[in-house]
Amino acid sequence: MNLNKVRFTIQVITFLLIVYGGYIGLDLGDKLPTFACVFNPEGTGGKCYLGMIQHDLDHPWQAFLGFAGIAFLISLFIFVLWVWVLNKAWCGYVCPLGTMQDWLTSLRKKLKVKFIEYDWANRESIKKVKWILLILLLLLPFMVSNSLLGLPKLPGGLTMPFCDICPGRMLIPAFVGDFNQFYIDFSNPTDLIMTSLGMIVVGLFIVGSFFKKRFFCYFCPMAAFQYIFSKQSLFKLYKDGSKCTKCGDCYNACDMDILEIADDIKNKNLVTEDCTLCLKCVAACPEEGCLEANFAGKTIFKSTKEGFILRMAMNQQIQKESNND
């Protein structure tokens, strides 16, 4: 099957559902593991869990001993259930920010501009940023209501620190015609810094995703959060190391430049922390049965020689060009 076409279609459908779903009454709940932005209240088809968890953590710790604590655990559990359904494919097929980045990448391909690749050392250090962002977004709201380790309580502007810098807040409402989120708040230093950072992040997002495939996904704390629960998920990516010739085609196709998919021949489960389960690697693998996308024990997409030949269009004989001798 032509993975590019299928993926494009699915991404468009989920983008419409997540960004405009509210208009037709769609409501998937407020614990989604994808960026369905709160700041698009009428159109959104769900709410991103990162927004909710920041809001939930902004209570004094005593509140967690009562009703609020149980509500928090229930929310977390529902989130984990969502992650177990689609694993990281939320990133590759559903996330509207991911879809926007893929559209920018197609634009770049049409303009025949070469993409950027990070070298391995940089990639390793960049990977850590998403964990730092995750820890900050969990810790800062908590420190607004509580004083930790004798530090003073943080100012109110930091109750939703990630929402302030998230590019989804500015870009997703823009698709409904609401450009009100592009602002800088001069009322106090905290808000000034956070909203300026937000504007800078949006600019970097647009430029970065144009030149680097899935630029933002390296820094996304949602990916880090999902990865914690990813191992038990139903949707898996399996590799049979004995069939691998280490040709590196999967690495070539990978948007996130994950080395392990090509070089790791020992592990069976190859969903790494960066992986968006876009399945481009499975489509690019020429060995029969080496890479496999598996949902609840059933193979839904396997790498085959026939499939590879069809996708790379190697099955037709090219007619002799007239200027050939």
Binding site: D27, Q62, A68, S75, N180, F182, I184, S187, V207, F211
Partner: protein, 312 residues
């Protein structure tokens, strides 16, 4: 028949004017936060009366009933007497609370409703379990259907705004209101708005019966120290009906309805945020980085120029 209706309307209007000029006394519900311990807040509701914003706690009420409607539509009804309103809200979420007072005076039955919106952050875990699992996307506080248990009601519609905040009401926003009598919209009943500074205004409905007013900006407040200045205003609505009957062994010839809704608002964020600054930052970041990359690539290209030239 038609001529009779017209005279009735004229008389109602005359009465309303009298009411407004004679007395400014109103009654409304006030919400207070009480600090229980270590940042744990509890909400307390009091019924106040007076010339807005001066007020005192109401001590005695005539035949009061307390109704509240949960966001999803469930209705509760309890009794209460005076002073602090005893509310035991079962679920977590938003409620519309009505205190209804009825008494007959001078052969006129007065039916007074005091409405407010309460948010309950605690709840009963067993009842709330399903609702918590289901989760709710941002529901709107505005534009709800009128409450069947309440005869005379005013419902706030979605405010029209220029800024980015979606949850609350701010100065400069235009708030549309629809007034309902027995769940049918009244098309020609005005409402009165009173602010904390004592400024008041009568708002007349437009051709569709929609009452809109812009929340005034408080030019006296010193917002340089506190840009998120919070204020209140009071919305009051009146209506009369010519109907006779007996209430608690007292006869009456007319029914007068009164509704009060207190509304809190902050200073408009447009005063301290700047959209153009935001756009400039975004555009300049994009320009700087893309030009930087372009020049960097041109520098690197010089070795393998022949290859790169024919991307056709």
């Amino acid at each position: 028949m038609y001529g009779y209706r017209k005279t009735m309307q004229k008389m109602t209007l005359v009465f309303l004017f009298c009411m407004i000029s004679v007395a400014n006394a109103g009654t409304w519900i006030e919400q207070r936060y009480v600090d229980k311990s270590a940042g744990n807040y509890d909400k307390e509701l009091y019924l106040k009366e007076g010339n807005f914003p001066q007020s005192e706690v109401v001590e005695n009420l005539n035949n009061p009933t307390l109704l509240y409607r949960y966001d999803y539509g469930e209705v509760f009804e309890t009794d209460f007497d005076h002073g602090k309103i005893n509310v035991n809200l079962p679920y977590k979420g938003s409620y519309h609370l009505f205190i209804q007072e009825r008494y007959v005076e001078d052969s006129i039955l007065h039916i007074k409703m005091y409405k407010t919106r309460v948010y309950n952050s605690k709840g009963n875990i067993e009842d709330s379990l399903i609702k918590e699992i289901r989760g709710k996307t941002v529901g709107s506080h505005f534009g709800k259907e009128p409450f069947e248990a309440v005869t005379f009601e005013a419902v706030l519609q979605k405010p029209i705004k220029q800024h980015h905040i979606n949850c609350c009401v701010y100065s400069g926003d235009i708030v549309p209101i629809k007034v309902y009598f027995k769940q049918k919209q009244l098309k020609n009943t005005p409402i009165v708005i009173t602010t904390q500074q004592g400024w008041e205004k009568t708002v007349n409905p437009d051709s569709d019966g929609l009452l809109s007013f812009e929340i005034p900006r408080n030019t006296y407040a010193d917002i340089s120290k506190n840009k998120r200045f919070k204020e209140q205003l009071l919305i009051e609505a009146f209506y009369e009906e010519n109907k006779s009957g007996i209430y608690k062994k007292k006869p009456y010839k007319k029914i007068k309805y009164y509704l009060s809704i207190p509304l809190s608002f902050h200073t408009s964020p447009l005063e301290y945020t700047s959209k153009s600054a935001g756009f400039y930052v975004v555009i300049s970041v994009i320009a700087v980085f893309s030009l930087g990359l372009y020049y960097y690539r041109r520098k690197k290209k010089k070795i393998v120029k022949e290859i790169w030239f024919e991307e056709d």
